[in-house]
Amino acid sequence: MDFKSGAALTAIKILSRGKGIYIIITTSSLLLYYPIFVKNPRITYLLVVISVLNALVAVLADIDTHKSLFYVFRICGATPSTLMAYIITTSSVITLISLIPITIGIDVFGVLTSLLMNISVTTSLLYMSYIKVRKYS
């Protein structure tokens, strides 16, 4: 096991025990109703917006734990690339779950837009938290 898989493993553990994963699974499951039963382009594109908000809320729900982990990772000697591996794993898991309703109801362009937006929002938020922790610890 190398540096980066250790960070990814910790990210999965933190996610599976946090509030964020329950929020995102519940919201994504409820949203599945719309692409399956309501065939309205306006509603389906509204899903893109809800999906981004869903991913955002999922990260914010566990933000204190993520911040503590950035601090502990730093004092335990994690390199910046290890911290990035943690951020990318967390963002990817959240993005994938938030994209499930989108992939069912929207065209390829919509899915790609959502993918890009969700991963950008979650990665930026986590990266900003890391920079803040690094600056003040």
Binding site: M1, I14, G18, V72, I75, C76, G77
Partner: protein
């Protein structure tokens, strides 16, 4: 037998900017800590003790001066180099213990080994050994929220000890403990020094802690001075 130098601080200065005001937190700090020594740094809040520990740990860089830890000049290392030092040579125990509440005791202690890329079997063996050494066996699978203050401090010490560092830095390790638990933690530090020949630097605002150290220094308004036994 010649004793090895663990930490060398030469003309170390550090300042912070608060609005328009620049405050010198460390002023011309010079010190030598030998291998296997327990050092106590005593001083009031805001005297620069924590900043000094963070500079030795490579968490902050000095504005001026040299910091040499186990032969490595920290000024010459980049962020990756400093990370390696923190992972294998220096361990820092923050005042608030820095434990992750959603991870178990075992997983918290395991973190530095995960970061170092140690294989699963070696991690299991090493973490079990350290947990047994600090006297927390049977509590490996509890979350830190289920532990007392003294036990949480022990978990933080175990995490710092799991990589067998040469230098252990403890920031106010007894500040959140009652006196009987504080004595136990200080006795544990003495055992660590004896068993692993570790240099331990403890900063504290409690002068009673200095009874347990080999050498005491005092920090006041950013300057570090040796304490002679008569002054405390």
């Amino acid at each position: 037998m010649m004793r090895e130098v663990a930490v060398l601080l030469r003309d170390v200065w550090k300042s912070y900017k608060f609005g328009v005001e620049i405050v010198n937190v460390l002023k011309n700090v010079n010190a030598v800590f030998m291998r296997g020594e327990v050092i106590g740094i005593h001083g009031p809040s805001g005297s620069g003790k924590t900043t000094l520990l963070k500079i030795i740990a490579g968490l902050e860089r000095p504005d001026r001066g040299e910091v040499i830890v186990c032969g490595y000049n920290l000024n010459l290392l980049d962020e990756v180099g400093l990370s390696m030092i923190r992972n294998s040579i220096v361990s820092y125990i923050p005042q608030d213990y820095g434990l992750i509440e959603s991870l178990t005791v075992f997983e918290n202690v395991e973190l530095p080994l995960l970061i170092a890329g140690v294989d699963k079997l070696s991690r299991l063996r090493k973490v079990s050994e350290v947990i047994k050494y600090i006297g927390l066996n049977g509590k490996e699978w509890l979350r830190p929220t289920r532990l007392s203050g003294g036990e949480r401090q022990r978990v933080a010490i175990a995490r710092a000890l799991v990589t067998t560092p040469s230098v252990l830095l403890a920031d106010e390790p007894t500040a959140n403990l009652d006196w009987s638990n504080a004595i136990k933690v200080m006795e544990l530090f003495k055992d660590i020094k004896k068993d692993f020949n570790t240099t331990i630097v403890i900063v504290t605002h409690d002068p009673r802690i200095l009874e347990f150290v080999d050498r005491s220094l005092t920090m006041f308004e950013g300057t570090l001075k040796e304490i002679t036994p008569k002054t405390y």
